[in-house]
Amino acid sequence: MNRVETATVVTGFSPRRVGALILRYLYVLRSSWPRLAELAYWPSMQVIVWGFITQFFRTNSTWVAQATGVLLGAVLLWDVLFRSQLGVSVSFLEEMWSRNLGHLFVSPLRPYEFLAALTTMSLVRTLIGMLPAALLAIPLYHFSIFDLGLPLLAFFANVVVTGWAIGIAVSGLILRYGLGAESFAWVAVFAISPVAAVFYPVSVLPGWLQPVAYALPPAHVFEGMRALMFEHVFRFDLFFTALGLNAAYLAAAGVVFLVSFGRARQLGKLMQVGE
């Protein structure tokens, strides 16, 4: 073996390969200020609109008046979920748009290292997008989501992982069906929004739909957030249920991606990305 080979024969998971891909996405992000601005634009707009709605409901709704930050907290966590999913999907789409998958997968990069890079980058993009929005709410509406304290981390982590699971599954579908399935990346998360109990309790839903809501991690997160805001208790039962469900959905999403990757190798999709 020559000197380069000696350095490159690496087995198993390689943080360096994951770092290489993260660097690749950071280069893309850094190269375009509109991309960076776009990350923060929509969450900030959401906060501004929902801040005014909160101000209106504070004097017109006894429910909101009990915990004035409930709507803003909900909209911020929902956007974390959406941004987290989009963070995975958009980084994946970067490879499809640049027709780069062929090069990536003739390198020693493993599919699970690819997923590790996508999820790490999703976290970076989510933080870039959500921090300005969360900070904006403090001077504008005197609401700081950081007042939730440590439970905020629990809620944040759970919705981020839900976003990853959806993003990974959607990326698998795009890998399998090509860029014709790209629109799933932008709309898939909204399929769960009616039953995610973001702005209303699960009990509002018809009885037959409530089990569906409880089968999804976000319903437990948002119920937990309301419990904290209204009753000042952190519901560990809801937290651990969300955590367990997230683990199951993340594993299922990983399986969907790996099966799609295998199918893409059967169909030759890694060389011929496109519609």
Partner: protein, 249 residues
């Protein structure tokens, strides 16, 4: 000596279409072998299966002594490929692209390797330019730099000098020859440039409709078909004309 590539019964079927049909061949270590054939002959499909990007319907592939279908990650660090049909990210600069691929292949000193390749392939002036702003010929040289970033033992090249002017094409071929002489690497290339194949290759595999229909050194094939150039042999095979030597009998 152990072969760099050993293929047996390689077959790929897409729905009703048989893209590669029971192909068998061996590529000797340190040699340069060409895969020739018209459009749709099965060259790119064969290369894709050798790279592990495409799973065969049947057959076995051994690359650098390893079963490619079972242990591709043992081999991938020691091989690479270049194709005008698979691009490197256009928004990134040349240096950024090469750095990322250097890291993916686990290089210790990526910066030094990039400088070596930039000098050798005359792309030093391009390093800070976005890859998408380069001409087709410049992109081809960058793709070759990416393919050489890990000093591969086995290099698969799909039309390595496509889009290059004769001068640049010649210097790229020179670089490939020097690289092979220095490292003893094995090349397998698909090309439509017959002069390039005659210059670089020890062995030619002629493909038509997914099958290898003839093989030999360029000189052997030219003699076998009673022709003066490999291009004439290529046309005979592509158009299914009888060999000139047979027609004369």
């Amino acid at each position: 000596m152990e072969a760099a590539i050993e293929v047996q019964g390689l077959t790929k079927r897409f729905a009703e279409a048989l893209a590669v049909d029971d192909v068998a061949f061996t590529v000797r270590r340190g040699s340069t072998t060409a895969l020739l054939g018209g459009n749709g002959a099965g060259k790119t499909t064969t290369l894709s299966m050798l790279l592990g990007l495409l799973l065969p319907t049947a057959g076995t592939i051994r690359v650098l002594g390893e079963d490619m279908l079972r242990h591709r990650y043992r081999v991938l660090p020691r091989m690479n490929f270049s194709s005008p049909y698979v691009e490197v990210p256009r928004r990134l600069t040349v240096a950024q692209n090469l750095r990322i691929y250097g890291m993916l292949y686990g290089l210790d000193r990526v910066g030094g390797r990039i400088r070596e390749l930039a000098d050798a392939l005359d792309i030093a002036d391009l390093l800070d330019r976005p890859t998408g702003q380069l001409s087709a010929g410049q992109r081809t040289r960058v793709a070759l730099a990416k393919a050489l970033i890990n000093e591969p033992t086995l290099l698969l090249l799909d039309e390595p000098t496509a889009s290059l002017d004769p001068d640049t094409g010649d210097s790229v071929r020179e670089h490939l020859e020097r690289y092979r002489a220095r490292t003893g690497a094995t090349f397998l290339l698909a090309s439509h440039n017959m002069a390039e194949v005659e210059r670089l290759c020890d062995m030619v595999l002629m493909m038509r409709r997914g099958r290898i229909v003839d093989r030999g050194s360029p000189a052997e094939l030219v003699a076998r078909y009673g022709r003066h150039t490999l291009e004439e042999v290529f046309l005979d095979i592509a158009r299914e004309r009888p060999r000139a030597t047979e027609a004369a009998q």
